[in-house]
Symmetry: C2
Subunit: 351 residues, 2 copies
């Protein structure tokens, strides 16, 4: 059995303690400076304030100042921080790492540096390099997983992806269990690009529910499922396209990382609810207000993709007719009205 | 403008009259011998008993005995019959056809003759050949479309597929309109295989909702969406695999015909509700009884696929470890308990 130190005690970082503790590992859950209230509650033996559950037996909660102690003797460092926290987390864990140390990360996102998109495992590697630590091949988690379900031991199939074969095999074996089923993939670019993009597209797939209500419809079999399915299918098409552009395997968009994660985000995630408000005709600010402070990864990723597409257009790397749904979503994220450009869909698939 | 005669006045055959009439075509809707009650109501000026809507203005309802009159001068014959009715319909329309006549069909299904799977356009062609009529290249409809939504002019994106380039282009241009968006594809085998298989897989994706309720859960964000998403993703994987086996383009499983149609069937269709009853633990017979006589295409297609898989196994055309979800669905359709084989999933995608 291994000792695993998780940095980040939000929903997903904490949910990961269930499959790991159930496998018999020693798990130490370290809050970031944003998690002080969470760690205080957990140390007092009370439930996690967001998950509304007690930690699994044996999992030890620690505050950010205790990270050094928490990492002492750890076999694995896991990052449970948000995408915005990856660079910060890299700086925190760099002193704790030596070459070959297994690092697992659940953050999902993309960075745009003005020239190219980077997936977060590569952002972390760059940050570690800047801190003088090389020889780390992070393993990232993609695929459909709602934290509150994982913490209730719902059957979950996810993907671990990394460039280090040894680290990938080690972490896959260490984490997989009877309800947390880990499937390894070497397609880091494809899996991680889908993991980020699915939030953007889930916003758009959510439009149909709002548009239906806007015209007076009730939920049920007859709604705007045709509209929803068309946007879902186009999302898979565009994810395949973007994965190809960044050099990943487009097939990753057609299993757990793309289609699977988009399904779960739409059915169980907040991003779909945000899209519904936009479909109902609320302004961007009104829709944001309805979400009561929830992190909207979709707006972050759409800002990244808006800048990427502008550069791709400038370079004529893609045609202006390509990625019509994502272009519309980028516009909606800047205040445009919802008006799905169906007639531009399925280029390259229809023939 | 064209004259279009539709044989079959069920939900989908009738729903097709909306986009065609809105395009200004003359539409004649002919009931089969199963639709006598429907045609009687429509002729009396009352709403369609299943769609609960009046026909669009100008659409003329006719009884099966009036087919000859209805086809007189028609530019297009469309089949709105169920999969079981395709051979019967072929016999009815054969005398009305001449080489090159455009034939559109909305029936979805697969036939197994003991040696190979056939898609319904090919079944129809065979039937027409037996009746002495060659030179017909039927165009079939695939992709996500709930009839009750089409008849309410909900934005719909579907696929027309056929082997005759002229017929495909003609019917695509004739039918496409502001809310019925037709995307042509030459991948008849892929599109039509997905159109049939999606019913089988939608039953399985529906298990999660029932399993969640069975353990006392309420609908909401925290349910068994992780389970559902994993079965959805595996369904896309297995549809791609089967499309490859039958000689189609596996990419058809990753846009409207596969992913899109599976989404709509699960969100708005009866097949997902049937799967929910099975997930809740009802026996096959109890679940069938709950559906109150609704046609369960999933059981028909699972019977076809059970026989196909048995032959493929016998020939060692596939390994016993392949198509694990479909094998389980075939077993459930013969009375086995729901027990999704997640550990066997994603072979060939995970690496």
């Amino acid at each position: 059995m291994a000792t695993i130190t998780i940095l980040g005690a939000g929903m997903m970082g904490t949910a990961l303690t269930w499959p790991l503790a159930d496998r018999g590992h020693e798990v130490r859950l370290v809050g970031t400076h944003l998690d002080d209230e969470i760690i205080r509650e957990l140390k007092a033996g009370r439930p996690h304030p967001k998950l509304k559950l007690d930690l699994p037996a044996g999992v030890r909660p620690l505050a950010v100042g205790e990270l050094g102690e928490a990492a002492n003797g750890a076999d694995v460092i896991a990052l449970g921080v948000s995408s915005a926290g990856v660079r910060w987390a890299g700086k925190q864990i760099a002193p704790l790492l030596s070459p070959g140390k297994p690092v697992l990360m659940i953050s999902k996102g993309l960075e745009w540096d003005g020239e190219r998109l980077s997936v977060l495992p590569d952002v972390l590697t760059t940050e570690l390099h800047a801190a003088g630590k090389d020889g780390i091949a992070p393993v990232a988690v993609g695929g459909p997983c709602i934290a509150g379900e994982l913490a209730r031991r719902v059957d979950t199939c996810i993907v671990f992806t990394g460039r280090g074969a040894t680290e990938l095999a080690y972490l896959t074996d260490l984490a997989r269990g009877p309800y947390y089923r880990v499937f390894p993939s070497t397609d880091v670019l494809g899996v991680e690009t889908c993991a980020a993009l699915k939030n953007a597209f889930a916003m758009g797939v959510g439009f149909a529910a709002g548009l239906h209500e806007k015209r007076g419809g009730q939920p049920g079999s007859i709604a705007m499922h045709n509209h929803e399915a068309a946007t879902f299918a186009q999302s898979i098409v565009e994810m395949q396209h973007i994965v190809s552009i960044v050099g990943g395997d487009p097939r990753s968009a057609a299993w757990l990382p793309g289609a699977g994660d988009l399904t779960v985000t739409n059915n169980g995630g907040r991003t779909g609810r945000f899209g519904r408000w936009l479909g109902l005709g609320l302004s961007l600010d009104e829709a944001i207000a309805k979400m009561e402070g929830a992190t909207l990864e979709c707006l972050e990723i759409l800002d990244v993709m808006r800048r990427a597409i502008a550069k791709w257009d400038e370079r004529a790397a893609i045609a202006k007719t390509e990625l019509p749904f994502l272009r519309h979503l980028c516009a909606v994220a800047r205040g445009a009205q919802v008006d799905v450009p169906f007639e531009a869909f399925f280029s390259g698939f229809a023939q």
